[in-house]
Subunit: 224 residues, 2 copies
Amino acid sequence: MYNGTFEPAAESKPIRDVAYERLKHAIITGELPAGSRIVETVYAEQLHISRTPLREALRKLERDGLVEYVLRHGVVVRAFTVADIEEIFTIRNAMMMLILPSVIERVSDKDIAELRVLLSEMDVAQKEEDCDALASFNRAFHSKIEHLTDKKRILRVIDDQEEYITRFSAVTIASIVRRSKAHQEHHEMVDLLEKRDLDGLEKLMSHHLDESKMTCLAAVANRK
Amino acid sequence: MYNGTFEPAAESKPIRDVAYERLKHAIITGELPAGSRIVETVYAEQLHISRTPLREALRKLERDGLVEYVLRHGVVVRAFTVADIEEIFTIRNAMMMLILPSVIERVSDKDIAELRVLLSEMDVAQKEEDCDALASFNRAFHSKIEHLTDKKRILRVIDDQEEYITRFSAVTIASIVRRSKAHQEHHEMVDLLEKRDLDGLEKLMSHHLDESKMTCLAAVANRK
DNA sequence: TTATTCAGGATTGGATACATTGTACAATTT
DNA sequence: AAATTGTACAATGTATCCAATCCTGAATAA
C-alpha cells in the first residue's frame, strides 16, 4: 500500500499559458506600450521558451484583442483610444445591471462577512494612501461581487472588459478626491447588499462606474 | 510598360486562420457536436497541414469559448445549455440597445436602399421557403444593421454572441409561424430606420430578439 | 474471478529545423 | 541625383522531431 504523500502531479500549466499571462500582464500594465512590436524570437528567448508555445500565446492575445496581427509582420500591441474606454465602461455598466438581480439573490451572509473583511483591509490601505494595494483590493472587491452571479457568460464579458481597463486603474486611483468617494461607495454597496436592496444597489453601482469612467477618461486625457 | 493585370498579390491568410475558420464552422454548424474530442494529429492530417498551425487555431477557439482545454488531454467541443442560450440573447439584446442610437444617427439613404434590396431577396426566399437562404440572409440583414454603428467594441461583443447562436439559427427558422412574423418585422425595421424612429426601433428590435430567443429555446428544448 | 502491474501505443508539450516572405540598404543604371 | 535592382539579413510560416504523459489492455498474481 502506498503510504507517502501525493505529489501535486505536476499540475503545471502549459508553458504557453504562462507566456500568455506574462505577456498579457505586460500589456495591461503598460510595460509593453501600445505600438510595441512583439517579435517572436526576441520574446521566446527572453522567456526561455521556444517559439511554438509563444506563438500559441500570441494567438490567444490576438483573440483577446490586445494585440493586432499584421499579415507576415507579426503582432503589435493595440492602442486604446478615449472612445475605447468609453465603450468599455458602457459595456461593463450594462452587463453589471444584468447580473445584479442574481447577485442580490445569491449573496450569503458569509459573502457579506468576507466583503467586510476586505473593506477593513481597504480602510487601512486608504488611510495609508497605499495606492498599489488599494488598486488590487478594488479589483478584488468588485470581482468578488460580480462573481456572486450565476450568469457565467455575462460575467465573462465583464471580466474581459475589466481586463482592458486594469491598465488604467492606477491612474484612476491616483485621484485623491475620487479615491475617498469611491471608498465610501464601496462601504455603501455592502450595506445595500446586506439589505438585499436591488434598486439601491443598481443606482449606486451605475453611479460608481460612471464616476470611475469619468476619472479614467480625465486621467487618460491629461496624460497626453 | 507593364500592361497586364495585377495578380491579387497572393494575399493568402495564414493556414492557421483557414484551419480556425474551418473548425469554427464545423463546431457552429454542429458537424462537430458538443463533446467531440479534437485530436491534433487527426485534424492536421485531415486538413493537410502540420500540427503547428492547427494548434494555433485551437488556441483561438479556446479563447472563443467554443472548445475546452483539458490538461494533457487536448481540446473538447463545449456544450451549450439552455442557460447559455438565455444569457447569449440577454447580452445581445442589451448590447443592441446600446448601439441603436448610433445606428439611427449614422444610417444613410444608401444603407436603407441596400437593406431594401436585401429585403426583396428575402421576400423570394420566404416565398419559396428556402430556409438555408433565409438563414444566411437573416444573418446578413442583422449584421448590416449592427455594423452601421461606430461602437466597435460593443459590436464585437454582439458579433461574438451571435456566432454562438448561429448553430441554432436553422432550427429557429424552421418554425413557420415565427419565420413569417420575423420576416414582417424585418420590413418594419427598415421602415423605422428610414423614419429615424429610435424609440420604435428599440421596441421592435427588443421584441424581435425576445421572440427569436423563445423560438430558439423551444426548438432546442424539443430536440432533446 | 478480481485486482495489479507493466508494456506499448497514442497524444500532447515543446524545441528545432527548414522554407517563405519582407525589409533595408548598397550597388548600379538612367 | 533619382530610380531601380539585387542581395543579405531578419522575421514569420510550416513541418518535423523528441520527450513526457496518459490510456489501454494483456499478463500475472492473489
